[in-house]
Amino acid sequence: MAFLKRFSKSLFLSLVLLFSVATTFEVVAQDGKALFSQNCASCHAVNKKLTGPALAGVEDRWPDKTKLHAWIKNSAAFLKTGDAYANNLYNEYNKVAMNLFPQLTDKEIDAIIGYVNTAAKEPTTTKPSDGDTAAKGEDADNSLLFGILTLVLAVIALVLLQVNSNLKKLADQKEGFKTPEPVAFWKNKSYIAMVVVILFLVGGYYTTKGAIGLGRSKDYQPVQPIYYSHKVHAGVNQINCQYCHIGVYQGKQATIPSVNVCMNCHLAINEYKGEKIVTEEGVEINGTAQIKELYKYAGYEEGKPWDASKAKPIQWVRIHNLPDHVYFNHAQHVKVGQVACQTCHGEIQKMGEVKQFADLSMGWCINCHRETKVQFKDNGFYSIYEKYHADLKNGKLDSTKGVTVEMIGGTECQKCHY
């Protein structure tokens, strides 16, 4: 009997598990929104005609779902079947062929259509979320409190010292000892010496700190010609960093995207419909106006075909400045070292306007080089370090700690200065 009970219990548990897995599948299938923005959004909107037709009501226009699937997966092949509606559509849109999506499964297409249906019903409203701001108060600085407390304690200590000396004086008088005339504390040499020492230490500390900080610009957050929000692009819309910063895997510079890269998407996305953008100062930003600002640089007039040759470069304010004698290569860190962008740039996907996250000081670089492991086993280059491989095998090197950048010479001068 006990066995049966145990069995039913485990059966129940596994059922629960199975169910939860099934629901996760549901979740994946329902992620039509993500699929939509990945695949369709550059040419289609839900309620608006862009390069391609508005997708709202697509199911009504395509009663046969298999046909719709075939069309989306390979429009060119489908056109050849001679389907009248498809051919009309093709002609209507100036014979601009729709991209091919052979990688989409039927399920995924249905998920996209599902999203289109729900999005078509909802009027586009933006709900500002208050969650972020609520938490802010907690981070308030306690140093002022500590400062006041220290000051009060210091005053009490001073008063007590004074009282102590007065009492001593009285006691001495009582005993009949002659005591020298008390010196006022502002004339007392030991007090003066103490104050001087304290001032010297405190002043010296701040001077040194200030001098070290010269030329560093942590938290630098200049106003840019266009309010470009990484939060909207990389955060909400999950655009891969490399889509815009194409150099990051290839070379020294990550590169700032040129106007034509922006226009790849913004030819289609001409208005901002996401959550309200508010700067850290509380100023509300009109996203759509910022897109129009981009159009000015691009020389693009809506409704007309874009002539890329009219574009002018956007003069962004450079935030991350390394001195001229420092060589930094993005590919080395991101492609070879597999370092995440956020390690140096902070939570960029949550930033509105970009702010310098790290102080980019040499100490900061060196520290990371001391701690970071290289991709010792995965990258074929490091096979030449035969000794380290042997040491890892025979346990001379702690395999959990691995081989750090420093061990292969990553803290030597001419790794960055030449």
């Binding site: 010269l214 290839q250 040129s258 060589y327 096979s383 030449i384 370090y385 030597e412 001419q414 030449y418």
Partner: protein
Amino acid sequence: MRKQHWQSFGELNNTDAFKQSVDNEFKEELIVEDDNKGFLETKAPRRDFLKYLGFSTAAAAVAASCEMPVKKAIPFANKPEDVVPGISKYYATTYVQDGDAVSILAKVRDGRPIKIEGNDLSPLTAGGTSARVQASVLDLYDTARLRFPSIDKNEVTFEKIDKAIAQEIANLGGAPIVILTNTIVSASTKEVITQFLAKNLGSKHVTYDAVSYSGLLLANEASYGKKSIPSYRFDKAKVIVSFSADFLGTWLSPVEFSKQYALGKKIDEKKPEMSKHIHFESVASLTGSNADERFLHRPSETPFLVLSLLNAINGQPVVGIDDKLKKSIEATAKELVEHKGESLVVAGSNDLHVQVIVNAINEALQSNGKTIDWSSTFNIKQGIDAEFATLVADLNDGKVGGLFIYGANPAYTWYDSKKFVDGLKKVKFAVSFNPKADETTLLCKYNIPDHHYLESWGDAEIKTGFYSFLQPTIYPLFKTRQWQDSLLKWSSSSIDYLAFFKQYFIGKTGSETAFDKALQIGIYQAASTLASAPVFILATVSTASSAIGGYKKVTGTEIFLYQKVAIGAGEGTSNPWLQEMPDPITKATWDNYLVVSPTMAKSLLNIDLTNNGQADAYEVKPPKHVVEIKINGVSVKLPTLIIPGVHPNTVGIALGYGRIKSLGKAVVNDNGEPNGANAFVFASYKNKTLHLCNEAVTLADTGTKYEVALTQTHNIYNTNQGNRTEIMKELTLAEYIKAPKEILEEREAEAKPYGGLSKFKEQGTIYPSAINERPGVKWGLSVDLNSCTGCGACVIACNAENNVSVVGKPEVLRGHEMHWMRIDRYYSGNDLDNPKVVFQPLMCQHCDNAPCENVCPVAATNHSSEGLNQMTYNRCIGTRYCANNCPYKVRRFNWADYSGSDSFPNNQKEVLNDVVLNMNDDLTRMVLNPDVTVRARGVIEKCSFCVQRLQAAKLTAKKESRPLVDADIKVACQQSCPTNAIVFGNANDKHSAITINRVENPNRIFYSLEQLHVLPSVSYLAKVRNVAEEGEAVHGAESKHEHKEG
């Protein structure tokens, strides 16, 4: 057997001044004006001190407290698909200048070419370059380039000038137009010219080369019926004999020949064999210095010598030359005859008859078809002097209506330039397409400057059927136009040159795809048409020999005009890199001068170099005697250098100097006077060809003196441990075959106190831990002294790659030159007039036990785990301890702000030469390599093994997740080397070229100053000279030296 090598006469004689200079710790002069007083004795030093202190404190405070400037980051508006900012692209193109053509790759970084590399795919040069090729990228950014089309020096638009010239052509009224160019190597351009000539009947094209090969061309026409120059195969020749043909430096196609020559000089240790090179010359040349045997003669003796050689080869008696030369000619003939079919004789003479005899010699030696290849002939030198002389006469007779000048500059280079200038004034109109305001262009009414070659489209048919393409690597910087476009326009063609060029080569290659591919690799070879070797016309020999029989013997002093490797006939004069490159032979910069032999110095200047005090009074530092050279009433005054390797009755002057101001800051000194003097005035025109030599020279010491900036003794160092005699190792082939382990044994003996070579590394130091482990990479470099010709391509390549500053003549005089790499010239042997010469390229040796590292008080120089001796500029405080402690003297100190990187602009105006400041112009600075820090004043710098390239190479390998291979990395000097003398790579890798180089040459390898136990990362392969006699007798100076040591 050890030989005494000496760099200077002082070293040879061990003079007082030499001893003093090697003991002098701080050899370089201070840059502050010397007021003959010590710092403390000067007026109010305390006040000055306070002033400077106050100023620097205030300046530092101001500089530091300034607000950080707002910098912009401006991306492309539309990014071209294949351009990634910060990543260099390489475009195949072709260096073309005055008929010289070398296939190259231009390294383009963010839209601007910054470095020239050789094109490995070229079957001719196979990746080799020359100093001039390397420096040509700087010419692109030359501030003296003409920036717009002009009429009478006033800027006009292209439309206006086209209209004006069309009008001029219409007004000619049948008078012919002459297109005067230097050699045109481009096949499509020739077609353009043909089209233009067809439109303008009666017009003609005249080719004029400043240094012409007329004699050779005409001789080949006489001997073979072909007015062209065949291909030479120095690699197939076991015996090479040259009569003043400087084929490694300036003759015909030096890069290609160097490559071939070095192949014959490579030694396989298991089978030691090498070619033998016998050189006859009058004035020391690069090629002569590399020869196994060199014989000196008068320029006027050349015809007799070649005739004697022909006779000797044919077994006839040798008469008419002196005994010493007779002996050498007979010995040479013997060698040649022994190697029939494997020998080659060339001559640099421009005498038709001499070249005919040389042809006869080569025929007698059966070279034709073996070492001389007629299936593919050179197109690079086509000028015939007589045609130009006729043109000059026509100009003066007023027979020419319009003159178009491209490339040629006869107002400077023609021996009788006055006559040409007079004639030029008689033409109705003259158009110059030259890119700079040279001597001829200034006399032309119209000027439409041509693009620099890096901005141009085009082709170079270097040899028949071998094409090398040009493609633009940058948008034209100025309002310039390719001259072919102008010609096409004026022959009312409907298409521009680009379309014309494309059409022409699509026709040749067969399709647009084939053309694109050829353009991409830069090279196209037409299917070879195997022409049979032409038949030698024997009859010409007797004509030539009887003509030579009629020549008179000369008894007086003769003059020989030579081209410097860097300057050529004037192509390199306006380039500061080339001007500052020490000439391989004389080690002089920025000037030309009269070169005389030590023997002549005795009679002319009263300087006996074997006399201790007199040598010191002459050598290096003291200003040189200025001598007046006079021929037929033409006189030139030049300072005199005493150079071993010059015939006692001959003097030499380099061409290319004495230019006009408008060519740029590099051709004049600070007073606006030209550097050096024009030597073309001494050329002679005889037998319808121009000879760069002359007779009846009178020389007179003017009594005045002039400073020449020589670098030869700037870097001498002597200690009890590291004596200079051992910095070089050299032996003869005979010795080498007899005792192959000689050098190894010598090294073994040096290391004996430490338990021999095997234990030397560990036992030679009390700090064995100083020799660190190299877990991954250990960089190493090797120089084969047998292949190195000393041409200097590496020096300029290093300048371009590493942003090495130009310092100007006054600074070189102070010993402040900045070259990271220098080529030391050593003499050896008994004969002061004709010693043996060895070149040794010397860069930072990246010692594993580096003496510079442990004396730096701020650890600005230290060692990397890859074996690099690192230099960190921003740590350096300029104590110069490291430079003093370096036994190789390869560290350089920035005495002034040469590179303009100081935060106070223009603060060096009073201190530095104009040409240095000109190098800091925004335009010139475009040549800087952005991957290398531009050094500021007050820091030490030195060779870094091109660490930026090493890092990039490792990154490439890492990105592809594979181990490093040799193909990833070529350091700048290695890349530029035409002879592959330099090998570089990872010495930890068993399969790398550097490891193989060291393992396969155990008997020739040596490390410079090895006994110091500095453990250099640079190894050398000893020079082996192919001479018959087994070493020379121990030099007198060596016994002296040993005496000193003992």
